[in-house]
Amino acid sequence: MIKLENVTKVFANQETPAVKNLNLHIKKGEVCVLVGPSGCGKTTTMKMINRLVEPTEGTVYIDGKDTSTVNPIELRLNIGYVIQEIGLFPHLTIAENVATVPREKKWPAERIRQRVEELLNLVGLDPQVYGNRKPADLSGGQRQRVGVARAMAADPPILLMDEPFGAVDPITRAKLQNEFLRIQEQMQKTIVFVTHDIDEAIKMGDKIAVMRKGELVQYSTPEELLSAPANDFVAKLVGKNRSIKRLHLIRVDRVLGSNHNVPVVKKNTPVRKLEELVDGSEIGAVLVVDERDRLLGLASAVDIREAGGGVAGDIYQPLPNTIGVGATLSDALSVMLNYGEGYVAVVDKANQLTGIITLGFLLGLVKEDAA
């Protein structure tokens, strides 16, 4: 989707390049976080994507098209842009602010009105209440929401966000981050997200690009970044208690499907078949699901032995220790501790079983870090 090829930027009157020979490939629908200390070139890199900064050397491609051949105004109208200071227009109402790009694109008035309403609802601001207010009447968090709504107004496939939640208090920030992740889950935009906060990077990013002095130090998933920092700089950036951070920051859906050994059976599986399976189970039990993979419960080795016959659907017991796909590994750990069990089943909104997290797996993660 977005590809930076050998991109270098040297600002006028400066000897050292702000960005040095950078190569970056951002896939469609991915959140790519550019992270690093101030002055590392992350914002410059972002601004080269919508040509607010023109690269000195190298090429930026969007959907395979060299952006230097596209009219910058045209280019920017199709890329959402959010900055830390938000930059809402103080003389316009919230609705007018959100309508900026659709108006530039000459949408009909009625369509703009509907879109503004839809977006304000999406970011949790009642259009009836806030639509006609001026930015000065809103709190910092509300203004950030308007900023995000404004950037998404014309439904651009790409969003550029420069420390979008940097200017609000930590509680509001966490809330905005979570809301944003929820929105992104529906929208599937390609997002370039700039931050200096590694925790935010790990939380928000599908991919993280660590930058230092204009160069790309490591480009990997948050998990890789935490488990295998490329060098001392990255390790230091990530911090000492990496293992705890991983538990706090990694969502369970990111690690599902990896190494656990718990059999899952449909409810019509004969019990004698379960006897073989349960022997190989890490938790001494098998999980039982219905025909549509919805979690019913679990059948322990004891249940299976005592039953002697029938199908799995007759003998399972309900399983209270489940968590949703959006939870973090630390949530998973606390559920395990609460129930005194070494595992937790992960289910989605429809109660379909999507995986299992075991204590062994978590220990494995922590041990990896210690090594």
Partner: protein, 207 residues
């Protein structure tokens, strides 16, 4: 009450001169606003020129008004338009300077957001910069107008007409009532302009 009998007997003349004065001011200000705002906007795009232009405007304002009008006579002769040009030159500084400052002092984040979202420079100027700078520009226009009402009285020396005629004729004839009438009318005009423009300025503010 000599003064009141003077006013009563010359009512039509007072009215005519006040109108004349008003027309002089309005003509000069209309032109000054157009020129001043355009120049003020242009120099925001080129900083080195800004300093030079503002310096020239400052010099124009420093030249004593009588001298300025005198300097214009060889070029334009005597009459209404000489007065108008003099007043325009005088009122440029507050308008140009306030336009320039008003635009320069807009939060850069607002302009970056506008640019980043794909607004072109023309739209940014018309829909963002000028509306946001408007209160400051209006303040400059008010300063200039009040000043020009006063200097407009001097412009009758070069044949531009207006309430200055009462003052100067009164001085030459040693007619105190005439001087007083002219002086009071000019003052009232200046105060009225100030009050009206203050209201407009308040309306222009977006907060």
């Amino acid at each position: 009450m000599d003064f009141w009998s003077f006013v009563n007997s010359r009512w039509d003349k007072i009215f005519a001169l006040t109108i004349e004065h008003g027309v002089l001011i309005l003509t000069a200000m209309a032109a000054a606003i157009v020129v001043g705002v355009v120049v003020g906007v242009l120099i925001t795009y080129y900083n080195p020129a800004a300093h030079a232009v503002l310096y020239i405007c400052q010099i124009l304002m420093t030249v004593p008004s009588l001298a300025m009008l005198g300097l214009l006579i060889p070029l334009l002769g005597i009459g209404f338009w000489t007065g108008v040009v003099g007043l325009i030159l005088y009122s440029l500084l507050p308008i140009v300077r306030n336009t320039y400052t008003g635009i320069r002092e807009i939060d850069p984040a607002i302009l970056e957001a506008a640019r980043g979202m794909g607004m072109n420079e023309r739209t940014i100027l018309l829909k963002i910069k000028l509306p946001l700078a408007l209160p400051v520009i209006m303040a400059g226009i008010r300063t200039a107008t009040v000043m020009v009402v006063g200097i407009g009285a001097i412009a009758s020396y070069v044949g531009a007409g207006g309430l200055g005629e009462f003052i100067f004729r009164g001085i030459s004839r040693y007619n105190k009532d005439m001087i007083l009438t002219g002086a009071i009318c000019v003052s009232v005009l200046a105060i009225a302009a100030d009050l009206i423009l203050k209201l407009v300025e308040k309306k222009a503010s977006f907060r």
